[in-house]
């Protein structure tokens, strides 16, 4: 199971696929202050990315994977950022 949940944190391990979308959504909905740890993640499915961008949870640990660092981390970096529609 690539996604590992604790009460307040979701930990993305290795390859995270579309299968993880529903559990992630449940987790994000269940917690008032959800946190994510992206450091072990090497593959983040678009569906998961979309959920993260909708919920904008606090990033407990940034990704290590270079592609995720470059393209995804900046989008999630500032949890307090306005959640507005970007487009």
């Amino acid at each position: 199971m690539p996604l590992v949940f604790t009460a307040t944190q979701a930990r993305f391990e290795d390859v995270c696929t579309v299968e993880d979308a529903l559990p992630l959504l449940e987790f994000l909905k269940s917690s008032n202050t959800p946190e994510v740890d992206l450091s072990p993640c090497t593959w983040l499915h678009t569906a998961l990315l979309q959920l993260l961008l909708t919920a904008r949870p606090r990033m407990a640990a940034s990704p290590v994977d270079p592609a995720l660092t470059r393209w995804v981390a900046p989008l999630l970096a500032d949890a307090s950022r306005e959640r507005g529609f970007d487009g």
């Binding site: 979308a21 983040l44 499915h45 678009t46 569906a47 979309q50 959920l51 961008l53 989008l75 970007d86």
Partner: protein, 870 residues
């Protein structure tokens, strides 16, 4: 009220009526595409015309209506009653405004407000404006990426730096996956990290995200925009399963120069611009860059100005900074009304200024920039445009023509073929040299405008470098030369020319006067003095004549220059390999002659390509080089200019020509047999003759070789053709250098004096009676092994013979339409320059004469037209 407005009002009413009527019909039958177009065009035309007047409200409303009709026209929308209502209301309003224009000369005061409201209503009916979001619209592919400014500046800066020197391709990718893509196993985001050339990526919701509580995690809502420095093929391969949702556009690096940030801050000090301008003119890019760095250090980084300066720095950091980009960014900063800000601010405006990069140069070339600079800036934009590759040659040909005209207008010239070869490279997909060339010219125009100060040496140096390898001066025409060009109406030169020609003729009366002084007044001394004076006047008159002729002289390159293109296009179309050689293009002739050469030459060259040069296979089979050669050659021979069109093609078969002429009933069988090969070949000049069975599409508009002859003879020239079967064909046009003064040979027939145009005179001989042979009822004599038929000019003109019996006949051997005839006259006289005037009045229609000329002693000389006479 201006007359233009007076004209506009009835036109407007007419179009408004037809648009309204069309709309009503369309409501009943929406499928009538012709009608949709008609209504659209009516509104479109009106909108265009309304832009001439200060009626922004009216124009805006028509524009909104036009956009809506355009959507209907392109089947993006189906016309419904609601739309028809809105459109009719708008048309009614415009109608009322037109009435107001007629009565008060202006729109009512509330027009603007009403216009905004009605336009909004029309626009509300439009489909979502952003085409790039609409992945299914095929038109999206042709669209430029107008969203580049959304990408982070630092990514754009990096991509720019990486591309500008290397010339590697830059692609703007817009990918809008559809709702259900996750179900098909697609993972859009993860495609992007697989692109090694990924420079920038923007991920966003294509519509406002649904609150978490209601979100469907399997419905894809994201869209992607990216900048990639990688060959298109690789990118298309990666996106091959979703390619219909992806829009890939190639963009030039300067497309990225889109400064962003907050407006405001203090405007930069004028000193900076002056300094920058000087450094730019001197090509001191290093100095300019350090000035920019200093300024950047003092500027709030969030400001738009800072962003623009960062871009300036990036442009300057390139190995060979592009001066026109530098000046464009500088101009944008100086203007303050900088384009990207303007664009961002007017996002809701109906027609935002295009955010394409190339607009940068155009933006720099603001309406107050001299037109020459604007045209050049536009050429840069054209060169940078990313379009269909097949269209490139035509687009570049237009660029070449535009720049060529511009150079001619400015009195500048480039080194031989410089422009042509740069455009040819651009047409093959390598625009760098053309871009540099145009940029250099642009800078030169700017420099010329900046002031009378001479162009900095460094600017010229750049021109030469841009001209690459082979040395030599690129720009020859210096600004100083421009001042010496004087434009004169041709009519004035003609008047001057006529006066001089009359002078030439009048001075011819002096020898008569001298003779009268001797014979009538018995004063040899007076006679000699008159002759001395005559010699002086004669010389001056001739020099004047030559000088004025020179004014009218143009080089044949004026007509030759169109042929490289013609030959290239036609040979490609026929799959033939043809090399065009041009020799002697500096040969000059009178403007009238040069201008009338165009059509005959096009025809001859077309013929050579079409009928002369064989296919590569045929050529190889007959042991010829694969590529055929067509040569255009010009030379001066005495007072004639000779133009030759030759090819090394299959030549003309005299037998085939004879047969054809016989079959067409042009000649009898006996005549065909009697013809020499050369004479047979000349038959192709007869009206209606064509040498190949099938008329290929290149033969043009149904004209034969006879039109070449007619056109050439109209300007007193003549055509000869020689050809050898299997070896090639040579067509030779001999034309007078000048038309105004003609040289004629005078002959006496009876008591009258006639002129024969010198071009037609081959030689003059005296033929002893006993050498004249009678063949049946005609006469002939042998001249150097050729039989020359003899014709009594008296008989032709209906005049009596003067001396009854002479031992020798005076014979003028003339060349008439490729054959030689001998004209028997009473006396051969000297040649003379005359101003040939067409016959007027009652004589105008008389055949056999090409005109009349006034001679020095006041007599009128009739000049014969041998062709018509014989």
């Amino acid at each position: 009220m201006t007359t233009l407005l007076e004209r506009f009002i009835p036109e407007a009413r007419e179009y408004l009526e037809s648009a309204a009527a069309g709309l009503l019909k369309l409501e009943r039958d929406p499928s009538d595409e012709g009608l949709v177009n008609e209504v659209f065009r009516a509104v479109h035309t009106l909108k265009g015309a309304s832009g001439l007047f200060d009626t922004p409200g009216l124009t805006r409303l028509l524009h909104a209506g036009e956009d809506l009709l355009d959507a209907v026209r392109s089947n993006l929308l189906a016309l419904d009653p609601e739309m028809v209502d809105a459109l009719l209301d708008a048309l009614d309003r415009v109608s009322a405004w037109v009435d107001a224009l007629q009565q008060q000369g202006r729109l009512p005061d509330d027009a603007d407000g009403v216009s905004v409201a009605l336009s909004r209503r029309l626009r509300a009916l439009l489909p979502i404006a952003d085409d790039s979001m609409n992945a299914t619209a095929p038109a999206a592919a042709a669209q430029q990426a107008d969203w580049l400014i959304e990408l982070p500046e630092k990514d754009r800066l990096a991509a720019f730096a990486g591309t500008v020197g290397s010339g590697s391709p830059l692609l703007a990718i817009s990918y809008v996956p559809d709702d259900g893509c996750f179900y098909r196993g697609e993972d859009p985001f993860n495609l992007f990290p697989q692109l090694p050339g990924l420079q920038a990526l923007r991920i966003f919701f294509r519509e406002p995200p649904v609150p978490l509580a209601e979100t469907d995690p399997f419905q894809s809502l994201l869209a992607f925009r990216a900048l990639v420095a990688q060959p298109r093929g690789e990118v298309e391969h990666l996106f091959r399963y979703v390619i219909e949702q992806v829009d890939i556009v190639s963009i030039p690096p300067e497309a990225l120069i889109l400064p962003e940030g907050d407006a405001g801050g203090e405007s930069l000090h004028q000193d900076f611009f002056e300094d920058a301008g000087l450094r730019l003119a001197a090509r001191d890019f290093v100095g300019l860059r350090s000035a920019v760095a200093t300024l950047l250090g003092e500027t709030d980084g969030q400001l738009w100005v800072a962003s623009a300066l960062r871009w300036l720095d990036a442009v300057l950091a390139a190995p060979l900074p592009n001066a026109s980009w530098v000046s464009a960014v500088l101009a944008a900063i100086a203007d303050g009304r900088a384009f990207p800000i303007g664009e961002a601010a007017s996002r809701e405006a109906p027609a935002p200024a295009p955010a394409h990069p190339a607009t940068l140069t155009v933006a720099a070339a603001s309406p107050d920039t001299p037109m020459a600079a604007r045209i050049l800036a536009e050429q840069l934009r054209i060169v940078a445009m990313q379009g269909d590759h097949d269209m490139l040659p035509r687009r570049m040909a237009a660029v070449e023509a535009t720049v060529g005209s511009l150079l001619a207008s400015l009195g500048w010239s480039l080194r031989d073929k410089e422009l042509a070869s740069a455009t040819a490279e651009a047409a093959d997909g390598a625009p760098e040299r053309l871009r540099e060339l145009i940029t250099a010219l642009y800078n030169r125009v700017e420099a010329a405008v900046a002031g009378p100060s001479p162009v900095p040496a460094s600017a010229t140096a750049l021109l030469v470098t841009s001209a690459t390898a082979d040395s030599g001066q690129t720009v020859v025409g210096e600004a100083t030369q421009v001042a010496h060009v004087l434009k004169v109406d041709q009519a004035k030169v003609d008047a001057l020319m006529n006066l001089i020609a009359e002078l030439v003729v009048s001075k011819n009366s002096l020898p008569f006067l001298a003779r009268r002084a001797e014979t009538v007044y018995g004063s040899r001394e007076m006679g000699r003095e008159i002759k001395d004076q005559y010699a002086i006047i004669d010389r001056l008159a001739q020099e004047m004549q030559r000088a004025i002729m020179d004014v009218r002289m143009l080089p044949v390159s004026e007509v030759f220059e169109r042929f490289p293109r013609l030959v290239r296009d036609l040979s490609r179309r026929l799959n033939k390999h043809i090399e065009l050689k041009i020799v002697g293009e500096d040969t000059a002739a009178d403007k009238t002659i040069i201008e009338s050469l165009g059509d005959p030459l096009i025809h001859l060259v077309r013929n050579a390509i079409d009928h002369g040069i064989e296919s590569p296979e045929q050529r190889l089979a007959t042991g010829k080089p694969e590529a055929g050669t067509i040569q255009l050659r010009a030379l001066q021979e005495g007072d004639q200019v000779i133009i030759e069109v030759s090819d090394d093609g299959k030549g003309i078969d005299p037998m085939a020509v004879r047969l054809k002429a016989f079959e067409k009933g042009m000649i009898t069988e006996e005549k065909a047999d009697a013809l020499s090969d050369q004479e047979a070949i000349n038959l192709i000049f007869l009206p209606g003759f064509s040498t190949t069975e099938e008329i290929s599409d290149l033969s043009g508009r149904g004209v034969g070789t006879d039109v070449v002859r007619t056109a050439v003879e109209k300007i007193n020239g003549h055509v000869t053709l020689s050809s050898r079967k299997g070896e090639g064909t040579l067509v030779r046009l001999s034309l007078p250098l000048s038309m105004a003064v003609a040289r004629v040979m005078m002959v006496e027939v009876g008591d009258a004096l006639f002129g024969v145009p010198m071009e037609g005179v081959a030689e003059t001989v005296r033929v002893p009676r006993d050498r004249i042979r009678r063949i049946k009822r005609s006469q002939a004599f042998v001249l150097r092994d050729a039989i020359v038929p003899l014709i009594q000019l008296h008989d032709l003109l209906g005049l009596p013979r003067k001396g009854a019996e002479v031992e020798e006949e005076a014979v003028l051997v003339a060349r008439v339409g490729g054959t030689i005839v001998g004209l028997v006259v009473d006396r051969l006289r000297e040649g003379i320059d005359v101003v040939l005037k067409p016959l007027e009045g009652m004589l105008a229609g008389m055949r056999g004469y090409s005109g009349s000329a006034l001679m020095g002693d006041g007599r009128v000389l009739l000049v014969l037209n041998l062709k018509e006479l014989l």
